[in-house]
Structure formats: C-alpha cells, structure tokens
C-alpha cells in the first residue's frame, strides 16, 4: 500500500496517449491541435468524453488552448477543469495525480496544443516585455542557455565534443522514430562543423519551433485495470520552485534542481541506477546536461565526460530521450517526452524499443525558475 513518504505511489495510471503530426500544420488553431490529440488519446484509452470527469489544459507558450477553449470544443461539463501556464507536461501530470488521489476527479484528460510555427510566433522577442537583459541584446532562449553552458565549460572543462553527444545521440534515436522532424544523420563531425548560433550553442543544440497537439489520459489504478492498455503507474512526483529567480546567486545553473532531485529519490526510495529510460525536457541541450548532473546520473560538473562515454545514446546503459527529444523530434514543450516514456514502458516504441524497461523518469524545468520530475512504472509497487 502507499506509504506516508509517498502517498501517491501506484495509485494513478497513464492509460491513454494521443498526438497530432508534429511540424507544420497550417490553418489549424492551437485549440484544434489539442482537440485532435485529445480525441486520439481517448480512443487509445478505450474511452469517450462521456467517461471523463476532469480536464487539465496546459496553455501554449503563446497562452492558447486553455481549459475553457479546449473544453468548450470538446463540449465538456465536468467536476474538475483547470488550466496551467506551466508546460513540460510534468506540472499537468502532477496536478492530475493530486486530483485523482484527493477524489476531485477519477479520469482526467490532459491537453497541450500550439501553432507557434505556422502562427509565426517570434521567440526572439522578450517574452515578458523588454527588460535590462533584452536591452543588452540577450534575447531568445539560446542566450541564457549559452551563458550557463559557457560557465559550465569554464568551470568544469566541458568540451564541445562532449556536449555535442546530446544532439548527436538524440539524432540517432530520432532516426528510429517516424514522428521525428529531424531524422537526417548528424555525425559528431557534422555537429562540430556547424557554425555557432549563440556561441557556445549551435543550431543542433536548440529545439525547432513546431505546431502540434499532445494529450494524455490519466485515471485511478483501480479503473486502469478495466481499460485496454497496459497501465503505466505514476510512482513518484516532485517539484521545486526557485522563483527567487535571478536574485539567486548563479541562478542560470538552476541550483534548485537538486531540491527536486532529493525530493523524488527520498519519496520513492529509488536512485538513478534504477532508471531504465530517462527523459529530459530539452528546449536546449543544456537542460539535459544540468539535469543529468543534479538528478545524480553523474556527478556535478561530470556531465561532459559522462556524455562522451556514450551512456545516453543508442546502446548505452542510460537511454535518454529515445524519441529524439526536443532537439530532433519536435518542440511540444516537452509533452512528447511523457508519450515516449509511456510507449517504451508499454513496449510500443517500434524500432527503438528498449528491452523490457520497467522504470521511466521524466525531468523538466519551467524556464529558469521551476523544476519537476516524475517516475513512472509498469509495476504499481515501485515507489512504495
């Protein structure tokens, strides 16, 4: 049974997955993309909208596809309906787990939808208005990510070739994923030959802008047993918010990731060596470097040599972002990481299927202020 340390372990399961084609979907709104994904997730779960009693919509970066818009198109009147400004799917999943465990709702649809590519959203504009940093020309996500990477290189000696293993390794995974936007080969020589975009970051270190929708259906462990898919249980969740933000010393290194890491390992009684498939939200490859270290997959500052050893690429002992991640598969604010984790755990990942993974983990960060992590397993006892 669940314990006090981790009262949610094994009580909630992911039972449905759905997504649109990722890439360019002209003429389709963010809400329509979310709804298309939702219908496909419900079908995957063997459910209809009549079976739902909860909806949690994650707004796009542009603020679209909220609960009222998506729920309206789906015609829903439900006991529990919510919108989140936070992406990555982790925050939505955690809210859903809390809603199920608290009894607010039993079967919940989680949605995300965006049309940033065909809507030509300008990611080079300061997202929250002009500020002192944009005045200096620090714009686009690559700016702050580049500052953190340059610091990492200087302090720990991380090299371009070590860091490039993230982009190169994930491209290898993406080549086995028909849904991935970037599937052409990317060798280390190709990577190193790319010019810097925002030095020390190259184009391949940064995600692409893409349109698309993703949806996930979550329900109680009891109900999951009556549904067609093999349930993937949520074994543990943790968050930590460093919302003091830039007023934290060295905030770009995201020192508060360690607090989320400590919380999830303490709650579940698990450790990094228990993870069979790892997913890290990666709008830039820097996110993966930081989270590999803070979550303890390698030591702080040792991410470079660890990556160079090939652990995270196909054939390695810590498969990372086996769909290609945000660098090669699609943007979708990290939501496809959860889809892929569940696919792998179900054994439905096609050519890139890992050998019977039992435990998957997803780590993400909202901007430079929030950390979240989830551990998922086909075994409901994991984390108890």
């Amino acid at each position: 049974m669940p314990n006090q340390r981790n009262p949610i372990a094994g009580r909630v399961a992911i039972v449905g997955l759905g997504h649109t084609v990722q890439g360019e979907l002209p003429g389709r709104s963010a809400e329509e993309n979310a709804v298309d994904a939702a219908l496909s997730a419900l079908a995957d779960a063997g459910l209809t909208t009549a079976d739902l009693d909860g909806l949690i919509s994650c707004k796009s970066v542009q603020g679209q596809a909220n609960d009222v818009a998506v729920g309206g198109l789906l015609g829903l009147n439900l006991p529990y309906v919510q919108s989140l400004d936070y992406g990555t799917c982790n925050f939505s999943l955690h809210l859903a787990v809390m809603a199920v465990v608290s009894g607010l709702a039993d079967t919940i649809l989680l949605t995300y939808g965006a049309n940033a590519r065909s809507g030509k959203f300008d990611f080079g504009k300061p997202m929250y208005g002009a500020d002192m940093a944009s005045a200096a020309g620090l714009v686009h996500i690559a700016g702050r990510a580049g500052l953190a990477l340059q610091r990492h290189k200087a302090v720990y000696g991380t090299t371009d070739e070590q860091f490039g293993m993230l982009a190169v390794g994930q491209r290898l995974w993406a080549q086995q994923n028909p849904n991935a936007i970037f599937r052409s080969p990317l060798t280390m020589d190709d990577y190193l030959a790319e010019p810097y975009m925002v030095e020390p970051l190259r184009r391949s270190d940064v995600t692409m802008i893409s349109d698309g929708g993703v949806a996930v259906v979550v329900t109680s462990a009891e109900r999951a047993l009556d549904l067609p898919n093999r349930p993937v249980y949520v074994s543990g969740i943790a968050e930590f918010a460093g919302v003091r933000g830039e007023h934290n010393p060295e905030n770009l290194m995201r020192p508060w990731l360690k607090d989320s890491a400590q919380a999830i390992w303490a709650a579940t009684g698990l450790g990094p060596s228990d993870v069979d498939a790892l997913y890290i939200q990666d709008p830039t490859a820097l996110w993966s470097l930081q989270m590999l270290e803070y979550y303890g997959f390698c030591g702080i500052g040792e991410g470079g040599p660890f990556l160079a050893e090939g652990h995270t690429a196909p054939g390695g002992d810590l498969p990372l972002n086996t769909h290609g991640g945000q660098l090669s598969e699609s943007y979708t604010w990290g939501w496809m990481h959860v889809v892929e984790a569940v696919r792998q755990l179900r054994g439905q990942a096609g050519d890139r299927q890992l050998t019977t993974p039992e435990i998957g983990m997803y780590c993400s960060s909202h901007g430079f202020v929030k950390a979240a992590a989830s551990i998922m397993s086909v075994n409901p006892a994991v984390g108890r």
Binding site: A130, A136, V139, L147, A148, Q150, H247, L252
Partner: protein, 138 residues
C-alpha cells in the same frame, strides 16, 4: 525610411520603465547604480519593487564600483531581432560586480576574445541616443 523609423523604436529596451528609470538616469550621468534595501542594506539586481530578503519597500539607488568579473558570456552570431542585425556578432556578458550583484550587459569588442573570469570595467555612455552601460575587459 519607414523601416528606419520602426528600427529606431527599440523593442528591446524598456520604455518609460518606472522601476528601471533611475538606472538609466544615473547612466546618463556616467554613474552605475543598483537598488539597496534601506532596511537590510542588501544590494539587488535586477530592480524589484520590494526587498526579497526582508520585504521592506524602502529602497535607495546607490552607486556601486563600476568593475567586476565575467561570470559568463555568449557571442550572438545570429540576429533574433531586426534591430540587432547590424550588430552581429556581438557579445553579452553576465558580470559579477565587485560589490555583489550580477548584471547582464553588452561587452565592448576588444583586442581579444573574452574568457570567463576576465576583469571588466563599466563603459558608460550614449549608444544610439540611449544611456547605456557596457563592459570592457580591463
């Protein structure tokens, strides 16, 4: 002509920002200032309407030593806004001031490429008609 006009209206610089106003007013006089909490005396950057440490709203802008160390830097080789196109490549540094706070600012092109840990001094003056604090390797 129209394009020139639209480019002169910066999308990147805060306009009529009451919070950051004193910083630009001081820069126009050649001085580097940050906020100091009147109650706990902590220096803070970027500006906030209150102190995140003691929650006092009483604040004074005080002059700080215009020198520090490069905590990190990036070199933009792509312009993400039209108004930056003519400036490529340009370098933005995060500078750890000798007095404590971290400031983000443009690095003035020098004789050599910067490295993390380089000592820098503030170079305060008008850039395109706007008071601007830039940094120069010392």
């Amino acid at each position: 002509m129209r394009e020139e006009q639209s480019e002169s209206m910066s999308e990147l610089t805060p306009q009529d920002d009451s919070l950051a106003g004193p910083y630009f007013e001081a820069a126009a006089q050649g001085r580097l200032v940050v906020q100091r909490c009147d109650s706990c005396k902590n220096l803070r950057w970027p500006p906030l309407s209150g102190c995140p440490d003691c929650h006092s709203r009483d604040t004074t802008w005080v002059e700080v030593k215009p020198s520090g160390t490069i905590w990190s830097f990036v070199v933009y080789r792509r312009a993400f806004q039209p108004e930056l196109r003519s400036q490529i490549p340009y370098t933005v540094a995060m500078v750890e001031l000798d007095d404590g706070p971290y400031l983000i600012g443009r690095l003035v092109a020098g004789d050599r490429a910067p490295v993390v840990g380089d000592r820098v001094v503030a170079d305060i003056g008008d850039v395109d008609g706007r008071p601007t604090v830039r940094w120069r390797i010392s």
